[in-house]
Subunit: 369 residues, 2 copies
Amino acid sequence: MVISAMGKETDELLLMADRVSKTQPGREMDMLITAGERKAVALMCMALADLGVPAQSFTGSQAGFVTDTNHRNAKILEIRPGRVLEAIEAGIVPVVAGAQGMSTDRDVTFLGRGGSDTTAVALAKVLAADVCELYTDVSGVFSADPRVVPAAQKMSSITFDELLEMTATGCPKPAMRSVEVAHNHAVPLHVRSAFTWELGTYVGEKDLLVEEPIIRAVTHDTSESKLTVVGVPDRPGVAATLFRALADDNINVDMIVQNVAADGTTDISFTVPTEDLDRASGVIDNGVADRLGIRGVVSDRAVGRVSVIGAGMKSNPGVAATMFETLAANGINIDMISTSAIRISCVVNADQVEQAVQYLHTAFGLDGQ
Amino acid sequence: MVISAMGKETDELLLMADRVSKTQPGREMDMLITAGERKAVALMCMALADLGVPAQSFTGSQAGFVTDTNHRNAKILEIRPGRVLEAIEAGIVPVVAGAQGMSTDRDVTFLGRGGSDTTAVALAKVLAADVCELYTDVSGVFSADPRVVPAAQKMSSITFDELLEMTATGCPKPAMRSVEVAHNHAVPLHVRSAFTWELGTYVGEKDLLVEEPIIRAVTHDTSESKLTVVGVPDRPGVAATLFRALADDNINVDMIVQNVAADGTTDISFTVPTEDLDRASGVIDNGVADRLGIRGVVSDRAVGRVSVIGAGMKSNPGVAATMFETLAANGINIDMISTSAIRISCVVNADQVEQAVQYLHTAFGLDGQ
């Protein structure tokens, strides 16, 4: 068992550090933050002991996690799970503190926020476990958000590629980092509820279903806004300059669409997280616009993205057509389109996002009984 | 620098354990409790870094404290201070987590409440430090409680034996355990304020004063009550049975005085902490009294103890006489007397304790300017 700090403890520890220090040396921040997981593993073992389950806590160091010396975001170099294996062989549940290790300089290190998943997956890998079970507050991965689509179904299995597309386009759980780590280490995940024993969703390299449906899920995201840069001269290097300026200001651009207009200029539209919208407009207005000869910037907060995802679309032409037809037939206008090999996303008006999800979920045959 | 957990944190961690577990396995309790010091050392190093002082935190394990496997109350077996020495040699302040170590089974251990003093003294010993500075909320050791005797003076030095008698008879700071540990390891202490740079009180094997006064301090304690067992048959083994019964019930008896009466019976008076008074009466009434043929038990909550302390009394007869005369001259009746080689204690009425302290402080020439 690998566990994280309880509740908001990591945030509280960071607040304490803010109160005493501006410099916050990394070595000491890691000593501080890892105390949260240390308390959690000890309390967990006590609770297990009361249930008659023999358990032993292990810090990252005791569990054999050797990391580099990059404090606050250390990377695992090696795992020596001798003590964890001894415990398992003795019938004792090892309870390992997540997101921590000991550096090659023998200092305490922290693997970063969400690092407990890294610990769990790495331990599953080194112990050659069949699967890494990820206990969450959802009972599995669903074909759409059940709050929006009551007929959404829990999937018994899904591939890493599909789940990564889902988390990237609005599926909130599991966290993308957990999925990436498991995918990178080829450790199958079982995403399940921390509160019931029902089976959740198995995530692996290949889907376990005999007959794969073409589309597995419909996701949506209303946390982004759209910016359109109007009248961009159509010459090489313009887009590069524009997006380099945004990247330099740490603005994470998601979808990008460009249309060439008749008069030798183009319009470039892209989405950014809504909280970065004003900053992104500022970067363009106050620097890049003049330099590139851009006419203006139009922003639109009232947009949302709806995506259909499924590895089956690779061998089934017509998915995009079905998606566009479904939206058109229901009076939903498409503003932007982007695709990957196993995903098609459309930007639509924010107030039509939920309808779009519902119609597409039905159109692709995902509704449950 | 050796530091403890902040504020009430250790109490809070114990409360958390109470909420999740009745069994509270020692190994896990130690993992939990030691998290408090871990947070404290990290925050201290951050604060020092902000002041431009290079500092590094060390857990008990990192500082080289090897202990036995007796969880919650581990004993130090060996200290390997290599990393602490390296830090000092590099001009870095080592900040060591108090009261913790790593057992010979490589588990985290806790040295018990107040164990940070043990850590500090043991580290001072192994580093061959000149002195172990104990930073407290008092500026040193005083010749009497300054709240009772405004003329009380801070002592520049005192011997361990004298300070131990003082803490045993009511002087609240420093904690007796710190003094005992330092005394046992022959590590001189400097008891001083955490809030000012004024010199405090040096505590060593020998007094540093050229000319020692006979009496160094007057202490008092009103936390005890008196019990008198009346009509005890005067034969061997009776007192032993009585005090064994109290000890078996974990009642800590302090002063004991016995007088033989004319009729072949004796009265035995003794003091116990007031919170144990009812329990002590019960132990005697409901068991020992009948067995020993005791007539009855009389308890008195309204008592206090006043003590004069000084190694000089060994070679200066007449200290006891001066003490008794001073009390008598001021109308203070003495209820019980007990003595050690360097201390005389009298039990008096509780409402006369403060007067007694003031008169004795003056009588023995301790008043400042």
